[in-house]
């Protein structure tokens, strides 16, 4: 095992996969010589050269669709979108082309492509640099949507995403980039579509992902002192998500909280909640409470009040404990 930062774990995943498979390449703005805006590809240009670590003009639509074309001709691109907010510039590429190419061409083509993007607050970068939009992609058939919360997870999940033959939207969280964690020296992967129980508990299930996993764990620590035992499920894959793990947990706790950094309304918590309200309503001993950002754009100087945190999770959990049926 070794200690490594999240951003470096991303680099390792890309590096190892590029070594393993010569069809894997990285494309995006400043990913090459500069090593990426957040440093995710530092060193890769020197190692693999400009043909495999491809700097692009500022043109998200262009290079994402170019990657799609390359993917359908046998390559396995990793596309870096510098901030998730900029994915708005290439929704056509992702939604009309990448997500549908395989299905609409009658399975003739496969489009093994990973589109990486960091989301969320943490940099006080304001309304156009802090959005969390994973729910959009989860609503689009044909895409997988992955969110990793630790260095270990990000490496294992990114490697699986690169090896996956389907398009994957791979979402990082900026505040996690500097996080340190322990990972094995040897090659490992984490399967897509499987959730990870980050903490076991018996009273309430929290279904969460990415940065909010850590806020949930913090909340769980405090709540434990209050005698509330919280199970924290890190979904890891938002689409398709692991119903079995979630259902089993709720079968045990009978209480559900969902937590994400995206605005609460119409976020992925809504889908989890709705599925549970459809398929296991009678298992519930309390209302399902969702945690998410308030329904306004992210704010520059009020960011710390804007992004949800452990306190919000605590309050949500307490709310589910208030009363039972």
């Amino acid at each position: 095992m070794k200690d490594i930062r999240y951003i470096f774990a991303i680099k390792e995943a890309m590096e190892e996969e590029m070594e393993r498979d010569e069809n894997v390449f990285l494309i995006g703005e400043d990913v090459g010589i500069a090593g990426g805006s957040f440093g995710a590809s530092r060193g890769l240009y020197d190692k693999f050269g400009p043909e495999r670590v491809v700097d692009t003009p500022i043109s998200e639509l262009g290079f994402t669709s170019i990657a799609a074309g390359a993917a359908s001709c046998g390559l396995r691109p990793i596309v870096e979108i510098m901030f998730m907010d900029f994915v708005t510039c290439c929704m056509d590429s992702i939604v009309n082309q990448i997500a549908k190419m395989r299905y609409m061409f009658g399975n003739q083509y496969s489009v093994p492509i990973v589109v990486r993007m960091p989301e969320g607050g943490g940099l006080n970068a304001g309304p156009q640099h802090s959005q969390c939009l994973e729910a959009w992609f989860a609503h689009v058939p044909g895409l997988k949507v992955v969110m990793a919360s630790t260095p270990y997870d990000v490496k294992g999940l990114l490697k699986s995403s690169i090896r996956d033959d389907n398009p994957v939207i791979f979402i990082e969280n900026k505040t996690l980039h500097a996080m340190k964690g322990s990972i094995p020296e040897e090659d490992f992967t984490i399967p897509l579509g499987k959730a990870d129980i980050k903490r076991e508990g018996s009273d309430v299930t929290i279904v969460t992902a990415s940065r909010m996993v850590h806020e949930s764990l913090k909340a769980a620590d405090v709540l434990a002192e209050e005698g509330i035992s919280v199970e924290v499920i890190d979904l890891m894959t938002i689409q398709p998500w692991d119903r079995e793990t979630v259902f089993n947990s709720i079968g045990k706790t009978h209480r559900l909280v969902t937590a994400h950094e995206a605005v609460k309304q119409f976020g992925f918590g809504a889908e989890i909640s709705a599925v549970v309200a459809e398929e296991m309503l009678d298992e519930l001993d309390a209302p399902i409470v969702r945690v998410g950002a308030p329904f306004v754009p992210a704010s520059y100087s009020l960011e710390k009040f804007y992004v949800p945190g452990a306190d919000d999770v605590k309050n949500a959990v307490r709310k589910t404990m208030e009363r039972s049926f």
């Binding site: 692009t56 003009p57 043109s59 669709s65 170019i66 799609a68 001709c73 390559l75 003739q108």
Partner: protein, 319 residues
Amino acid sequence: MRKPGKKKLIEFYTWMTKIRKTEEKLMEVFSNGEILGFLHVSIGQEAAPVGICAHLSDLDYIATTHRGHGHAIAKGIDLKYAMAELFGKKEGFCMGRSGSMHLADKKHGVMGANGIVGGGIPIATGAAFAARYQKTDQVAVATFGEGATGEGAFHEALNFAAIKKLPIVYVCENNGWAEFSPQSIHMPIKDVISRATAYNMPAVQVSNDVLEIYEAAGKAIERARMGGGPTLLEIKCDRWYGHYVGDAQKYRGKEAVEKAMGKDCLLNFEATLLADKVLQKKDIEKIGVQVQSEIDEAVDFARECPFPDPSEMMNGLYI
């Protein structure tokens, strides 16, 4: 580049006839209600696909548009399975999921028609990127209309290809119309080739003449294959019919339509071949009959194919 010999000329004529007659047949079956959705035919624009695809092998790539039947045919698509797709049948290239607007045939490098104007331009550019990456001598072609050059996708793709000197030819079939709007409404320039300056890209304009197109495309494709980078090729042509089948073209004067139809790339080529004694009237008739019977067979095949079963709709979303 060598001038095309007799055999090639006859081939060109045959392909053009095949496209024309296929489109005519499609208009007919569409009007019968046998084909659903949107159908955009390329009648009057048969020279471009033939002149271009004559230089391409199955390994080369082409990404086309909503008006893409001609390119798929010239690239060698099997008409039976293409027709099955247009009829929405299970045996179609896309399992009946796509119809005309997304017709694709991987085996022949047809990367798909595209329902998004401009959508195919960066995709073809990606194919060219792959060819270079894989160190093959494959070439990619993106075809599109002049309307598509208004989209950012056009701009971003050409910019990238020029920087990376990718093996691609951008073929703009400028038929003067984008849906119901003439070029004057949506472009501040007369010639699409003016756009190449922005990318320091060579650009060539030709008329709707298959031999002219063949020659210009040949040079551009050769240049791309040899590592010389992309070219923008503009073909000035005319759209005979409405934007889609069923469009009565109320916005377009009868005279303009007649004028467009007067400039028939197929008939003109036929006249040249007759004058040059490459073909005789009876050869032409023979070709027509033979092509027509191939098309009719394809239609019969498509008609008889079953529709996909509703349950198949859920298959293959993920691998």
